[in-house]
């Protein structure tokens, strides 16, 4: 019994669902058609809701009741014996016969529940919907309907406003644009599709071809494309006015037309902005600016190059230069290398890999490699080329024991093992400054390090002094510390040394090497027994150097005692002495100068001048007036504003020229000058005057003109009789 009722309820629900689906399908189909025809989502949604509401209200599915279902079943399912209605009756209210029939019918209904069918139009509706949608879709792509609505519906923002140039009786209906279409064809190398827009403000690539197609609702006498100073006539074909130009530079344009009754109209000013093709952007990954390799180790440089361009890259390569030898015997070899990854031209973005093996480049120890990556885009006729900065690579030379630092690599990679006296002072001061913020242990350690450096410096100067006992002892001291005879030899870039400029031959070092512990200055010393008598330096210098070393001793002492502040004065003294020694060396150079013989003043300019003539030069310098027409136009507009004069043909010509001058400025700062330019263009075309526009033009022109400096000028002055008398009286006095 209950089951039978459930069946009836389900049937009711199914029926309602079918009906609603029908309405929904139908309205959906119509909405899709609407969308395809009008290309407007909101209209389509609105339409959908509208149709659906109407349909639902018409069919009223909520009014279907169980009794309707019962009668439907009675009608369609024969075995039900027109008794389905009994199922709805309350059992208690029925007589026995009815109860029996109810039970039977309930049983039958269960058996025949699959036979309950509702007549529906779902399939026809689906078919109809499909047909409609397909038809609309076809119309959409073929554009059958579009001439009237579709794409030609010019967006509100793109509607072109025209201003009448002469006073026209009100009743004349001004021609209107019914269709505007601008197609932009980028240069062929870009492989960009043709774009079309209805927006009159354009931004295009340099060299693009732009075609305006403008259709009016009336026939016109003439339509002009006013581009900068040029007026280009638009050709009339296929019911529309069109003109094609190649955009080479930014400009402004407007459209002017004359209707059949000879009334002129001018549009607002639109910008035609051009942008250039950007050069490719190259990024190198995984590469240091400088790299050096041991001769016996692997000599491979691995890096990735990422190339990007706005319209495609046509070519990329690695340009490598190998330099061999040094000094005058240096030789260069240039090679153009390709990437390991295959380069595919005309791609906008690419990632290329390269493993550069220096051995393949036949590089030997001491040789240097300079290379950079170069990429070209596909711009025509002249491609944009960009390149990375140069990267350096060197194979260390094992033969030369000189550390190949400055000079050879173009960058000073000298390690900071060795500190000059000046550097020592700077470091000591830095240490003192940092004292509060660092641990005592670290402070002491750094002070000790400075002490060591101070010692090393002293040893270096000691060598120059040729102090036998001292030099020996220091060398031993150094040995204790570093286990090397001369730990600094490799790292010395001796700025503080008295021998910085190689004034004194340093060959004695070689002697030292050869002869082991013997006096390094033996060859230069006259008195072999007495190192004090070494002739490396003049006596005064020698004593100064000694003094400097004594100061260094003291400086080192305090550094070792962790009292850098006490050490500083000694360091300064040492630095001062070293400077003096250097300067005294310089003075020596200065003395080898050229002393010109004195000039005999009485003989001067008394040579033969027969063949020398006068020199004459004649030049006409053009006046560099920046904006002559703008200035003139400003003065003229001011007069037109104040007086009741009429605008003349000459005025309009002048305004046109002024507008072209202003356009140059406006291209750079459109927001500032566009309104002015528009007003001037209008005035230059119009037959009558508009005070508001004149005001805008004057104000804009005035602010656009640069301020002027006062310049010398001829003046007039009328001297009255009285003035003359006065001047005469003054002169007599």
């Amino acid at each position: 019994m209950k089951e039978a009722r459930d069946i009836l309820h389900n049937a009711l629900a199914k029926w309602r669902l079918i009906r609603i689906s029908e309405i929904l399908l139908l309205s959906l189909a119509l909405a899709i058609c609407t969308y395809l025809l009008f290309l407007n989502l909101w209209v389509a949604v609105g339409f959908l809701i509208f149709i659906f509401t109407i349909g639902v209200l018409f069919i009223k599915p909520w009014k279907y009741s169980l009794s309707n279902i019962c009668s439907h079943i009675d009608m369609t399912v024969l075995p039900m014996e027109h008794s389905t209605g009994l199922l709805l009756e309350n059992e208690a209210n029925l007589n026995v016969l009815s109860k029996i029939q109810q039970a039977r019918i309930s049983e039958k209904l269960r058996q025949h529940k699959r036979k309950i069918h509702f007549k529906n139009y779902l399939y026809p509706i689906i078919g109809f919907a499909l047909v409609c949608i397909i038809a609309a879709w076809i119309m959409n792509i073929t554009g059958v309907l579009q001439t009237k609505s579709g794409k030609n519906k010019i967006p509100q923002s793109d509607i072109v406003n025209f201003q009448v140039l002469d006073s026209v009786p009100k009743e004349i209906i001004a021609p209107k644009i019914t269709e505007q279409n601008i197609s932009i064809r980028y240069p062929s190398y870009t492989n960009e599709p043709v774009r079309s827009t209805s927006n009159m403000n354009l931004k295009v690539l340099e060299g693009s071809r732009i075609t305006w197609n403008i259709k009016f609702d009336q026939t016109l006498k003439q339509a002009l494309l006013k581009l900068g100073a040029d007026s280009l006539e638009m050709a009339f074909k296929n019911d529309s006015y069109s003109r094609t130009i190649t955009a080479d530079y930014s400009n402004f344009y407007s459209i002017k037309f004359t209707d059949s009754e000879n009334h002129g109209y001018l549009s607002d000013l639109f910008s035609l902005e051009t942008f250039g093709d950007e050069p490719p952007v190259i990024a190198l990954k995984g590469l240091k600016q400088f790299s050096s390799f041991e001769f016996d180790g692997p000599q491979q440089l691995e890096f990735t190059t990422i190339l990007d361009d706005d319209f495609g890259i046509s070519n990329a390569a690695i340009i490598a230069t190998v330099s061999k030898g040094t000094g005058e015997s240096v030789k260069f070899r240039e090679e153009r290398l390709s990437f390991d990854t295959k380069f595919s031209p005309n791609n906008k973005s690419q990632e290329l890999k390269k493993i550069l093996n220096l051995r393949d480049l036949k590089m030997e120890p001491g040789d240097e490699l300079y290379f950079y990556v170069e990429a070209m885009d596909n711009k025509q006729p002249k491609p944009n080329v960009s390149r990375t900065e140069t990267y350096f690579s060197v194979i260390k030379d094992t033969v030369s024991d000189l550390f190949a630092v400055e000079g050879s690599l173009g960058a000073d990679l000298m390690p900071d093992y060795f500190r000059s006296q000046r550097q020592l002072i700077i470091d000591t001061e830095k240490l003192l400054k940092e004292k509060p913020s660092i641990k005592k242990q670290e402070f002491n350690s750094r002070s000790n390090e400075l002490g060591f450096d101070q010692k090393a410096l002293r040893i270096k100067y000691g060598e120059f002094m040729g102090d036998e006992t001292e030099a020996g002892s220091i060398t031993m001291g150094v040995e204790e510390e570093t286990g090397d005879t001369d730990p600094l030899a490799d790292y010395t870039h001796d700025h503080d040394g008295a021998n910085e400029h190689n004034l004194v031959d340093e060959e004695h070092e070689g002697h030292e090497d050869e002869e082991g512990d013997e006096d390094p200055l033996e060859a230069y010393v006259h008195n072999h027994e007495n190192p004090e008598a070494s002739t490396l330096f003049a006596q005064s210098l020698k004593s100064k150097l000694k003094q400097a070393m004594a100061e260094m001793w003291d400086a080192e002492l305090y550094l070792r005692l962790f009292e850098p502040e006490k050490s500083l004065p000694y360091q300064y003294k040492a630095l001062k002495l070293i400077q003096e020694i250097k300067n005294s060396a310089r003075i020596y150079v200065h003395r080898i100068g050229f002393d010109p013989p004195p000039i005999k003043e009485d003989k001067r300019l008394t040579g033969e001048l027969d063949e020398i003539g006068n020199f004459t030069k004649n030049e006409f310098i053009e006046q560099k007036e920046l904006y002559p027409n703008m200035e003139e136009a400003l003065a003229r507009l001011e007069m037109l504003w104040i007086t009741e004069e009429k605008i003349t043909k000459e005025d309009r010509l002048l305004l046109d020229k002024a507008g072209n001058e202003l356009a140059r400025l406006a291209i750079e700062e459109p927001s500032k000058y566009l309104e002015t330019l528009q007003a001037i263009k209008w005035l230059s075309e119009s037959e009558y005057l508009d005070v508001a526009r004149i005001k805008i033009a004057i104000k804009g022109l005035y602010s656009a003109l640069p301020p002027k400096d006062i310049l010398p000028s001829a003046q007039q002055k009328y001297n009255s009789e009285l003035t003359n008398l006065f001047i005469e009286a003054l002169n007599v006095e």
């Binding site: 300019l605 008394t606 001048l609 020398i612 003539g613 006068n614 020199f615 004459t616 030069k617 004649n618 030049e619 006409f620 310098i621 006046q623 560099k624 200035e631 400003l634 003065a635 003229r636 001011e638 007069m639 104040i642 007086t643 005001k695 805008i696 033009a697 004057i698 104000k699 804009g700 022109l701 005035y702 602010s703 003109l705 640069p706 301020p707 002027k708 400096d709 006062i710 310049l711 010398p712 000028s713 001829a714 003046q715 007039q716 002055k717 009328y718 001297n719 009255s720 009789e721 009285l722 001047i727 003054l730 002169n731 006095e733």
Partner: protein, 580 residues
């Protein structure tokens, strides 16, 4: 003959009446004559004469001057109502005259010997009507607004044009805004002082032409209270012809020459290269050989720049030609100091200097930049010396000028990128010293603000004996020659339209003057303040003693009639009595 106090109403009848009276007397005497010189004949003759005289006078109606005693008050704009009320209280017989500019005051003041003027006063062009009147001026002071204004109406492109003035009793946060063409704000000043504040507004003049700038007065909320016009004629710079003579090439001259040539001036440079060999450079002008200075070659130049050495190396005749050219033609000579030789004399000019041992100088307009200078400063205190800023000096000789500067190496300014300062220094020096060409005439007006339907007075200076001035290319204006000055002529016009107007000399159209006519409402406060000042001056100068004012009055004719009647009666009675 006649006492000036007595006159006749019918003066034109005097001869006719005298003759007929005389004839009547002759007839009378002939009738009376009885051949006897008796007493009655004499008496009758006398009586007859008296009667005829009376009859004659009766017909001629004699008048006699009589002193008038009337008081009136002339009410001009801005008079105080309360003051007028108290005047009425003290003197009920006061007649009131309301002043309108340009009205005929003379007739109205006929019967008035005591006049009170109240308010801001009467217009300058009406003052003459009160010249012979005893006037007591009761001024009303201006309470608020611009009471003084100073600006030039003719300026050059590039100049910093200034508008200066005095604002009386500004309200809090009143703002003055100077607006340029197209009502572009150029400069503004906020008035902060309570009583009176001087203000100065500046604008760079970018463009030549005729413009009307505006001065707006805004209150603290930014609402425009007044919007007044400032007419301005901006003229373009004119080309100078300049000769530079140097004993040796120098950077100073090189940069100066480039600067001048780039500005379009005609520049000739003569630089000595070696003995008798020169380098001639001509910019913007044709080649003209200049070896020695002579009157013809000098005549063309507006300015000659010599370095001190080349000036001293001039021959005696060249020096005298140069001196004459300066004195009579108004040419300018600029002496470039090549070294510190200010103490040294030269034949033409001497600049008095004193040592100050300062080697740098700052210009007032450019306090940030320090310029190199010679360690001297100018000390000339004579009447003919004119300092140019604090860096140069000029001495007037006749019509021309000599100039020099204590600055040295000014080209350094260009190298440092301070071209503006370089331009200003040299523009001031060159403009000041170079020849001022003398036009054949000169138009001048004392009215800096001209109004619709008000007289516009102007003066025309010319040596021409019959000058003519054309107004707006329309008609000629009559001119009156000045009483004292030989070359000054005066004229007046009454503009009927607002806007720009022009006056042009008919004989030389290069002599012209542009003026702007504005609406009578503009600059109201200023005009009132000016009227007040001129009225105060006028009435304080005019006669303060009471003027005895007399007007002729006809003597009562009944008296003559009575005398005549009595005479007739006597003569009639006398015969009757004698015959008795």
């Amino acid at each position: 003959m006649w006492n000036s106090e007595i006159n006749f109403e019918h003066v034109e009848w005097v001869p006719a009446i005298s003759i007929s009276g005389f004839l009547l007397l002759v007839v009378f005497l002939w009738k009376e004559w009885k051949g006897v010189h008796n007493r009655s004949f004499y008496i009758n003759s006398f009586i007859g004469f008296i009667s005829i005289l009376s009859l004659g006078l009766l017909m001629l109606s004699p008048t006699m001057m009589k002193e008038v005693k009337g008081e009136a008050v002339l009410l001009t704009a801005g008079y105080a109502e309360e003051q007028l009320d108290s005047l009425y209280k003290s003197n009920g017989r006061l007649t009131t005259i309301n002043y309108t500019p340009g009205m005929d005051l003379l007739t109205q003041l006929d019967s008035v010997n005591q006049l009170l003027v109240m308010g801001y006063g009467i217009k300058d062009y009406d003052l003459w009507q009160l010249e012979r009147q005893q006037v007591e001026f009761i001024p009303t002071e201006i309470s608020e607004g611009i009471v003084k204004l100073d600006f030039t109406q003719n300026a050059m492109v590039g100049e910093d044009w200034t508008v200066e003035g005095l604002y009386r009793n500004p309200r809090e946060k009143t703002k003055l805004v100077l607006q340029g063409p197209g009502r572009e704000d150029l400069d503004s000043v906020l008035l902060t002082e309570r009583n009176s504040q001087n203000f100065s507004l500046k604008a760079n003049l970018k463009v030549k032409g005729k413009f009307v700038y505006k001065l707006q007065i805004k209150d603290s909320t930014g609402i425009v209270i007044e919007n007044e016009s400032l007419p301005l004629v901006v003229e373009a710079k004119k080309v100078l012809k300049i000769l530079l003579v140097n004993e040796f090439p120098s950077f100073e001259t090189k940069y100066l020459k480039n600067f001048l040539a780039e500005q379009g001036h005609e520049v000739v440079v003569k630089t000595k290269l070696t003995v008798q060999k020169y380098k001639f450079e001509y910019f913007n002008t044709d080649k003209v050989a200049i070896y020695a200075l002579n009157t013809d070659s000098l005549y063309e130049f507006d300015l000659i720049v010599f370095d001190d050495k080349s000036l001293n190396n001039l021959s005696r005749s060249e020096q005298s030609i140069l001196a004459k050219s300066v004195l009579e033609n108004g040419m300018g000579v600029f002496v470039q100091q090549t070294e510190d030789s200010f103490q040294g004399k030269n034949a033409l000019v001497e600049f008095e200097t004193i040592r100050d041992n300062q080697t740098t100088l700052q210009l007032t307009n450019w306090p940030k930049n320090t310029l190199e200078k010679f360690p001297v400063q100018y000390s000339d205190t004579g009447l003919l010396g004119i300092p140019i800023g604090n860096f140069a000096f000029s001495i007037k000789k006749g019509k021309g000028q000599y100039g020099s500067t204590i600055l040295k190496n000014t080209y350094q300014l260009i190298l440092d990128g301070n071209e503006s300062q370089y331009r200003e220094i040299w523009s001031r020096i060159i403009t000041e010293i170079s020849r001022k060409s003398e036009p054949s005439g000169f138009l001048k007006s004392s009215n800096d603000l001209a109004y619709l339907n008000e007289p516009y007075d102007f003066s025309f200076f010319t040596k021409d004996s019959s000058p003519m001035i054309v107004y707006k290319e329309l008609y000629q204006l009559p001119l009156i020659k000045d009483v004292v000055m030989v070359d000054e002529w005066h004229g007046t016009t009454y503009p009927k339209k607002m806007g720009w107007h022009s006056l042009v000399s008919e004989k030389d159209s290069s002599i012209y003057s542009n003026f702007y006519i504005m609406d009578g409402k503009e600059w109201n406060t200023l005009v009132n303040a000016r009227t007040l000042r001129s009225n105060k001056r006028f009435f304080s100068l005019s006669n303060s003693k009471p003027v005895i004012k007399k007007i002729p009055q006809i003597l009562d004719r009944i008296w003559f009639f009575m005398v005549f009647l009595l005479g007739m009666t006597y003569l009639w009675l006398e015969t009757k009595l004698r015959n008795l």
